[in-house]
Amino acid sequence: MDEVLLRSLTPSVLGILVRRGADFAAAEDAVQDALVEAVRVWPAEPPRDPKGWLITVAWRRFLDATRADTARRRREDLVDEQPVPESAPGVDDTLQLYFLCAHPSLTPSSAVALTLRAVGGLTTRQIAQAYLVPEATMGQRISRAKRTVSEVRFDQPGDVATVLRVLYLVFNEGYSGDVDLSAEAIRLTRQLAASIDHPEVSGLLALMLLTHARRAARTAPDGSLVPLAEQDRSRWNTESIAEGVEILQAALARDRLGEFQAQAAIAALHADAATAEETDWVQIVEWYDELARLTDNPVVRLNRAVAVGEADGARSGLAALATLDASLPRYTAVAAYLHERDGDLATAARLYAEAAHHAPNLAERDHLTRQAARLNAGRPDR
């Protein structure tokens, strides 16, 4: 049984239950139950109409769960009165679910968890494993999130930007446990792109595809990080790159630039270079200038300093860096790199060691320590 295919039916089934009058929280629970039941039953008895099967089972679960409820009568009346809107276009429901799960009243971690469950069809256990928290904690986070959005009307238009931020967060977490969050983020963004025509949705999808394409080359067999310049580019996924570039070009042609399109453009320029030396750094600097105009994120200017260092020489890079706040994350690592390019190996080694001390994760710490060790080992004055 294709579990991804099964999960892709989640938002439209949930949307139908809500349209039939079920409240979002109860409907979401019922759909989860139906998904679990499908995983159990389908391998032996595959249904002819998977979506119809899910709707029937989820609706029955919803009625069972609310049977004791005083509202039962009212709910059953609702079913009798209303024509069952199963022919309602599924895409609208899906889009509304994205908006609801990324509602601005939710904290980022709640929005991420709710999106993965209600739109992605993942179980609480899978989400908990992926984020390394106990299942009970994740269960609480999800039910609180559902309570928070319980008063939100399902047909209110939402803000695409909030949805994109949630999907970006999911993608950036990478993966742990048995769920590949990056692949899941791509699936959900692709599904969103099918529901709404928006150049930034395309921009984010392109950015994800172009970044994901490098995944196999990004870590060595021993788990250590491989920097972009040293990656074996023959291991980049050309299919993913081609798709990303095509989506990006179509988005850029519409002349409504946004930050995800600009980031994707930079990723595409890296993808275009057969070797690190062939990278078009001048164009990359121009895209960073665009990006800096679109967002006040200081990390953009830090990355721009690296690009300037490549395009105009390490001295220019260091000059660009000097205008930035030294407390920015990875500032010291960038300074170390630019000093090395400038030939000041002693300063570079000292800064790499300092950057390792402040590294936000073990992979980066090991990488930066190794850089310091490499320079120290090569210095005659040790």
């Binding site: 021993d222 788990g223 250590s224 080694a349 790499y352 060691a353 390792a356 001390h357 402040h358 936000p360 073990l362 090991d366 320590t369 190794r370 310091a372 060790a373 490499r374 120290n376 080992a377 040790r382």
Partner: protein, 135 residues
């Protein structure tokens, strides 16, 4: 079964035998060290003795309550003299001897020159739940 916490220190433990800062090692020696640590954790997962392992950033601060309606008081970054934990591993083993044996193995991780670091690790038993049968 009994749970033990293995604590690794940035500062505060007695000095290791092979005490050389990591950025002074050869790059290959760093790779070998990282591999040893990964293999160690993998092996404990296979034997069913691994519970958890996490690394901590060296930055941090002290925080305390400062009374009703007031924000908590913070004190940091840590003074250079403070005992500073770098990370931990929780193991669930059959005996104290086994816990000591594993801590010894972890301390043998290779360092500068490819020789064992002989790092001092802190080994702490968990307090347990009261037993069901007390007679």
């Amino acid at each position: 079964m009994a749970k033990y916490l293995l604590l690794k220190h940035y500062r505060g433990a007695p000095a290791a035998v092979n005490d050389v800062p990591m950025d002074q090692w050869a790059p290959d020696e760093i790779t070998a060290h990282v591999q040893y640590m990964r293999d160690f954790a993998d092996r404990l997962e296979e034997t069913g003795e691994f519970v958890d392992g996490q690394a901590l950033a060296p930055d941090g601060m002290f925080v305390r309550y400062d009374g009703e309606g007031r924000p908590p008081i913070t004190d940091g970054p840590f003074a250079e003299t403070k005992d500073l934990i770098a990370g931990w591993m929780v193991i669930d083993v059959d005996s104290h001897e086994r816990a000591v044996e594993l801590a010894g193995e972890l301390s043998a991780a290779p360092g500068a020159g490819g020789r064992p670091i002989h790092e001092w690790l802190e080994l702490r038993p968990f307090l347990t739940e009261p037993p069901t049968i007390t007679e």
